[in-house]
């Protein structure tokens, strides 16, 4: 089954420094029918105005992934990590038994746009950790590039869950096939442009698809497009 979730069905929080579109229940947005998709628990599409951000706050028992789309995000935590990431970088935090961190737009001029995803970990009480990696943005064209996976490597951040997150840019009407082991789930989020899944399901900018019981899909660009795909396990989380 392929379920489409158009961008305008997301819950949006907006104030003078933050615009956040929430794909799943988060904070004041609570819908008991929209809590998670497998281990994917949070998918927030955030824009933070220059000089603003989230002050020091705690997390626990979550694998937190930030994907920068535009601008620069500055991170600091109580593990001693600090750094600024931009487009071409991915940040993963294992909150585990507890981490305190802050996230701010590092620029006083330009907004920062990023996607923040939280996954349930495959194990509780993990030791908190932080990692950021850079991937080769030139390699994104017309192929699926893994950037987060339970099997880590130099340009792939490790995560404590049986999943892989891919990024891709389709040039024009190029096509990609994706196949996974049966019994898993696929989440697709179209960041820019327009794509079709299996010819019938069109995703415009910021639309998402939750796919179950279909382990092979074809993704076609209807124009230049940028999207992410997550290969997810099923089960209790």
């Amino acid at each position: 089954m392929i379920q489409l979730f158009p961008a305008d069905t997301r819950y949006t929080v907006k104030n003078d420094w933050l615009e956040s579109s929430l794909s799943f229940s988060f904070g004041e947005y609570y819908d008991p029918t929209n809590i998670r998709f497998g281990p994917l628990r949070v998918f927030n599409d955030d824009t933070v105005q220059p000089g603003h951000g989230f002050g020091i706050h705690p997390h626990r028992e979550a694998e937190i992934v930030s994907i920068i789309l535009k601008g620069e995000l500055k991170h600091e935590d109580n593990l001693g990590n600090s750094g600024t990431i931009s487009y071409g970088s991915i940040q993963r935090i294992t909150a585990g038994t507890g981490v305190l961190h802050s996230e701010f737009n590092a620029s006083n001029k330009e907004e920062v746009q990023f996607l923040q995803l939280w996954f349930s970990p495959n194990e509780k009480k993990l030791k908190p950790s932080y990692e950021d990696i850079s991937y080769d943005i030139k390699k994104l064209h017309n192929q699926l590039i893994p950037v987060i996976s339970h099997i880590a490597s130099e340009q792939v951040a490790g995560i404590h869950q049986d999943l892989t997150l891919y990024l891709s840019r389709l040039d024009g009407k190029n096509t990609l096939n994706f196949e996974q082991e049966s019994g898993r789930k696929i989440y697709v989020f179209n960041i820019e442009g327009e794509i079709s899944i299996n010819n019938d399901f069109i995703l415009k900018s910021r639309d998402a698809a939750r796919i179950t019981n279909i382990h092979e899909i074809t993704i076609q660009g209807n124009q230049d497009s940028f999207f992410l795909l997550i290969d997810l396990p099923v089960g209790e989380f």
Binding site: G27, E28, P58
Partner: protein, 90 residues
């Protein structure tokens, strides 16, 4: 002031000045006077509850990793046995 929040996005479930925190070995017994409706909201998310004691220049973050949260109906007290405590500046 004590605040009880959902850990997924920090939704506020309870805010009160009527509470007590008592250290018991490596844990902290937190007792909060609440009505049944508030207790029910907290218990609905008992695996994902953060508790914050808020003072002028610092916050103290507690949680119960094993969700040891109970509501005593007779005296309307929510009793949380926290096994984690972190103090941080605000």
């Amino acid at each position: 002031m004590l605040m009880i929040r959902h850990s997924i996005g920090s939704r506020l479930l309870c805010q009160t000045n009527i509470y007590n925190i008592e250290q018991q070995d490596d844990c902290w017994l937190i007792s909060v006077s609440v009505d049944e409706e508030t207790a029910s909201k907290v218990l609905d998310f008992q695996d994902e509850i953060n508790i914050f004691e808020v003072k002028e220049n610092e916050k103290t973050w507690f949680y119960s990793s094993e969700a040891q949260i109970n509501f005593q109906h007779n005296n309307k007290k929510l009793v949380i046995l926290a096994d984690h405590k972190t103090v941080y500046p605000t």
